[in-house]
């Protein structure tokens, strides 16, 4: 399993509902990553709280040096529209 796959597996476990989830090896060197997560878990949370959830999910690879640099983009998954709003 590549590092990218391993990170994605961790994120999928933490955000099983994710509407969008990706891990990109930004430099090709296997230690600089960009992750994007769109999840209902982020609803109502500040960006700091949202990023903390991602850090929690990746705590181990962050602590053991697998991840040298991490860029995070989070989005709260939009609730299902049930009617028009002005």
């Amino acid at each position: 399993m590549t590092v990218v796959d391993a990170l994605e597996t961790r994120l999928r476990a933490a955000f099983p509902d994710a509407a969008a989830l990706s891990v990109e090896d930004r430099t090709g060197g296997g230690d600089h990553f960009q992750v994007v997560v769109e999840s209902g878990r982020f609803a109502g949370l500040s960006l700091v709280e949202q990023h903390r959830l991602v850090y929690d999910a990746l705590a181990e690879p962050l602590a053991d040096g697998t991840i040298h640099e991490l860029r995070i983009r989070t989005r709260a998954a939009a609730p299902v529209e049930t009617g028009g709003t002005a």
């Binding site: 700091v48 903390r52 860029r71």
Partner: protein, 119 residues
């Protein structure tokens, strides 16, 4: 609580805007620290920069205080704003400027001062 941790806490609490970064504003050692610094200055923030590189303990104590695992870390009036991604995102949406206005008033200048922390 260690003396170093006390000094980090005072910077976070007392400085209007603090940026814990790798390197100094004159000689930035990391692209993410650079992104955070640029966004802050572009939003007109007076930045107090602290280099975490001289001593690994600075980074350990900082993360113990903030609960944030990575560098850079930005605080406005003692409150953690986030790392480079968040600060950049807030700047792009105009939210960073709004939060600076709210915390520091509109009459402010994008100036940089550095504080050296070495144990």
């Amino acid at each position: 609580m260690s003396e170093l941790r006390d000094r980090i806490q005072s910077i976070i609490t007392d400085e209007p805007v603090s940026l814990f970064m790798k390197g100094t504003p004159q000689f930035v050692m990391c692209g993410n620290s650079d992104r955070a610094l640029r966004a802050l200055l572009d939003a007109g923030a007076p930045v107090t920069a602290v280099d975490v590189l001289p001593d690994p303990e600075i980074r350990q104590e900082l993360s113990a205080l903030s609960g944030w695992p990575t560098i850079p870390q930005v605080f406005i009036r003692g409150e953690l704003v986030g790392g480079a991604d968040i600060v950049e995102e807030l700047h792009e949406s105009g939210e960073l400027r709004r939060r600076l206005d709210e915390a520091l008033g509109a009459d402010r200048k994008p100036v940089v001062q550095t504080v050296a922390l070495a144990s």
